[in-house]
């Protein structure tokens, strides 16, 4: 076989299926320890509180990431993990699947594949320091319980919001947010 006839090992196309073998390496490098060790037992999915409530299937995410199916980055269910780490606690391969999901989210964010609902939450964090800011109803309940209206966070100390914005800026999130908002217009 001539060299022209060989497939590029980096991004090989097998018929209609395309795999990227570097995806899982990136997931591992970003903290998804041992992700390549997954043997697809499904302990993660069966223990996951979101399995019954959403389309998130941790085992399937791990499978797609391992094969290098980049479509996993477009999966909106990726964003429904509550990061409770039950999957990681029970994994017989000592894979921290939660961290692998966080790594995939980070890659997706950089590729502008983060859902717009998350961008909205990002905007809320930039504005108030909270993904879910305090509400009027919540304030009333707090007072009834003998608590101050606002918790001791940026709600009480708004001067720290600018520092949170600094984090968003340094990590490049603000830029991604602006670019994505511009794209969606």
């Amino acid at each position: 076989m001539t060299s022209e006839g060989m497939r590029d090992p980096k991004h090989y196309q097998l018929g209609k299926t395309q795999f990227d073998p570097d995806l899982i390496k990136e997931v591992e490098a970003r903290g998804g320890k041992n992700a390549q060790m997954c043997y697809q037992c499904g302990t993660c999915t069966a223990g996951c509180p979101m399995t019954q409530r959403s389309g998130l299937r941790v085992r399937t995410v791990m499978r797609k990431a391992n094969l290098g199916m980049r479509e996993v980055l477009d999966d909106p269910d990726l964003w429904l993990c509550t990061t409770c780490y039950t999957c990681s606690d029970r994994c017989p391969r000592r894979i921290i699947a939660t961290d692998a999901i966080i790594a995939l989210r980070n890659i997706a964010t950089q590729e502008h594949k983060v859902p717009m609902s998350m961008i909205k939450i990002m905007g809320s964090i930039a504005k108030t320091g909270h993904g879910v800011p305090n509400s009027e109803g919540n304030m009333k309940k707090r007072v009834l319980l003998g608590l101050p209206e606002n918790p001791p966070t940026t709600h009480t100390y708004p001067e720290y919001i600018k520092d949170i914005n600094k984090i968003l800026e340094v990590t490049g999130l603000l830029k991604i947010k602006e670019e994505m908002e511009a794209e969606s217009q």
């Binding site: 041992n34 999915t45 069966a46 223990g47 299937r57 085992r59």
Partner: protein, 659 residues
């Protein structure tokens, strides 16, 4: 050295292993430039017949009196080239090996230039060493015509029977009151479904009857000293508080004994008395009194019980017995993984979660329920039973004490349990939660088909959690059917955890006594994983069965027979050759300070009075040639043969000359 040194250097290509990285011809040419080198040559495989002939012929043709082979690790082929050197008419200890494969071309294949430099260094050093080597004579010692087998499960039983049939006096030591081990607890055995008792008990009886086997049950190895051919073994025969020669196994003591406690043999599923045999088919059928629970009511000694036999004596002490053997076989078996540590499965919390071995006793005709499988919470027959495979196997969670390896028996015994449940309880459906079914043995895959055909259900997914209904005691098993990608929450009557096989706790003591090692999995380390799985690195000590790693009964029996064959070789040969690589003490210079006595890890050094003066000496057979004593000796009176200070210094000097 009076005689002029004429050394031959032989550089091996090892196919492309070495020649693919460095220039072997240039290395041979380089060797010719070294002092004392009279001849140098390279060849594709020096270990082959033509290669060895080349060494022999070169010795004669070029009148060589020392050889160096630059090739693989001495662990692999030092014996080969020593032999070739000896056949050429030169003392085999005038050969030295330069490792340019394992420690060079294999690890430095990305840096061929540096690898070449290193190969030159190593060859130069070995040539220097070969110039300093002294001829030595191997010693032979006689071998005691007896063997010791530690552990009397199926492995120890098989090994003992083989040894005894080969005419060798065999001491079989078992720590429990009866022989039989784990296999005696099993009901039927996969895949043929012959009952364990039917195939094991006849062997147990054979052991008791064989005139060449001296059976020591309820006994433990206390101490081992000596070396291959001449081991002195001290065995503690724990007191049964019953004279074995007087006890006729009538069981009257057991009938009158008022004490009740869980029977270890049945994993506590039924009680036993303080005067007991672990199971009715025990060998020897001699009663034991468990002094930890005996209340000394003396009922067992009355006329209605033991009476005139007078077999019971509460003051009977332990006895220490010393035997001399030529070889030892370790057959100490395994333990089961403490699956309680996997909290998500609720073992010992939920009544109806049992282990595979407990299921074995529940299903066994000789078990506490007479083979009627019932669930522990209410005694009802279970109609749906879940099996959790790989319960603690193939699991990297060290915090839970789980094991990364495959236990090799759980798939098959769970399939067998599934078959037995279908057979015994009409309408019962077994659900096997698996990741892979490993049915690798002869007729195993066929057995898997059979269970599928009988209606066993296979769910590819690992159980994440088990919960219990506090009223019905039914269990809800949560798992993903990974083939459907669907979450399952199944209410089952009972769950069996097919827990992992783990190294036996009791093996630790034996390991220390015999200076054995273990592999990273915790099982005892064999001499070679493929070509010598029944030997150890301690000469004269062999391994049989599960103590070396998980295996099923056919493999245990084969392994045990192999160990017996290996252990009988030195005995039948009658003598063994010992490497002359041991330390010798120059008693004129020895100050008797005893530093070496404390340093020797093998107990080979001793202090004796010679001509009114305390001096050290080394037991040549016990010495392993580690050299610790020599490096510690303050007066430099200890010489390590074949690794003398001069020889080692010559290597260091030769190394320094290249830089």
């Amino acid at each position: 050295m009076d005689e002029e040194k004429r050394i031959g250097v032989f550089v091996c290509h090892c196919g492309t292993n070495i020649a693919g990285v460095i220039d072997v011809k240039a290395l041979a040419e380089y060797a010719k430039t070294l002092p004392n080198v009279a001849y140098a040559e390279d060849y594709t495989y020096v270990c082959s017949t033509p290669g060895q002939t080349m060494i022999r012929d070169a010795i004669k043709e070029h009148n060589l009196n020392g050889t160096v082979v630059a090739a693989c690790s001495p662990r692999l082929h030092e014996p080969t080239f020593r032999k070739a050197t000896e056949e050429g008419g030169v003392n085999q200890f005038l050969f030295s090996m330069a490792n340019i494969r394992e420690q060079n071309t294999w690890v430095h294949m990305e840096e061929p230039e540096k690898a070449m430099q290193k190969a030159k260094d190593v060859v130069r050093m070995e040539v220097a060493r070969a110039s300093m080597l002294e001829p030595l004579t191997a010693k032979t010692v006689p071998v005691e015509k007896a063997a010791l087998v530690i552990g009397a499960g199926i492995a120890g039983i098989q090994a003992s029977l083989e040894l005894a049939d080969a005419g060798i006096k065999t001491y079989l030591v078992e720590k429990e009151p009866s022989i039989g081990g784990m296999m005696s607890r099993l009901d039927k055995t996969f895949p043929t479904l012959d009952c364990s008792q039917c195939i094991l008990t006849p062997k147990m009886v054979d052991v008791e009857r064989n005139p060449n086997i001296e059976l020591m049950t309820y006994s433990e190895v206390e101490d081992v000293s000596g070396y291959i051919g001449n081991f002195d073994v001290t065995i503690r025969q724990k007191s049964r508080y019953v004279y074995e020669d007087k006890c006729n196994g009538c069981g009257k003591c057991q009938e009158v004994c008022p004490v009740s406690r869980p029977n270890e043999f049945d994993l506590g599923l039924q009680p036993r008395k303080a005067a007991y045999v672990p199971f009715p088919q025990a060998v020897p059928l001699k009663f034991t009194i468990d002094m930890d629970s005996c209340i000394k009511c003396d009922l067992c000694k009355t006329q209605e019980a033991c009476g005139d036999l007078e077999a019971i004596d509460f003051d009977k002490p332990d006895e220490l017995v010393t035997v001399k053997v030529g070889t030892i076989i370790v057959a100490t078996g395994f333990d089961m993984y403490d699956v309680e540590r996997k909290e998500e499965w609720g073992y010992k919390v939920f009544d109806n979660v049992v282990t595979g071995l407990e299921m074995e006793r529940l299903i066994s005709a000789s078990g506490p329920t007479g083979g009627n499988v019932i669930r522990p919470s209410d005694g009802q027959k279970p109609k749906s039973v879940g099996f959790v495979l790989c319960a603690g196997s193939r699991d990297q969670d060290e915090e839970d004490g789980a094991k990364p390896y495959c236990s090799r028996v759980c798939c098959m015994y769970s399939l067998k349990h599934a078959h037995q449940l279908i057979e015994k309880i009409p309408g019962c459906v077994p659900y096997l939660f698996y990741m892979d079914i490993r049915s690798f043995g002869k007729a195993y895959e066929e057995f898997y088909y059979r269970i599928q055909n009988e209606g066993g259900k296979f769910i590819r997914g690992r159980v994440s959690r088990i919960t219990e209904d506090p009223i019905t005691k039914n269990l809800t098993v949560t798992a993903e059917d990974t083939l459907l990608g669907q979450l399952l929450e199944m209410e089952l009557d009972m769950v069996v955890l097919a827990n992992a096989v783990v190294p036996a706790e009791s093996t630790q003591k034996i390991k220390t006594l015999l200076t054995l090692s273990n592999s990273p999995d915790g099982f005892l380390l064999e001499a070679h994983p493929k070509l010598n799985p029944m030997s150890t690195t301690t000469d004269g000590v062999f391994l049989a069965g599960m103590c070396q790693g998980p295996r099923d009964i056919p493999d245990v029996v084969s392994h045990a027979a192999a160990a017996a064959a290996a252990a009988s070789i030195p005995i039948h040969r009658g003598s063994v050759t010992l490497e002359p690589i041991f330390a010798i003490v120059d008693q004129e210079h020895c100050g008797g300070c005893a530093t070496c006595i404390g340093l020797c890890p093998y107990g080979a050094t001793e202090l004796n009075e010679v001509d009114g003066k305390l001096v050290a000496s080394v037991n040549e057979a016990k010495c392993k040639g580690c050299g610790t004593c020599g490096s510690g000796c303050p007066s430099g009176a200890i010489k390590m043969q074949h690794f003398t200070n001069e020889q080692i210094m010559s290597e260091i000097e030769a190394f320094a000359q290249g830089w």
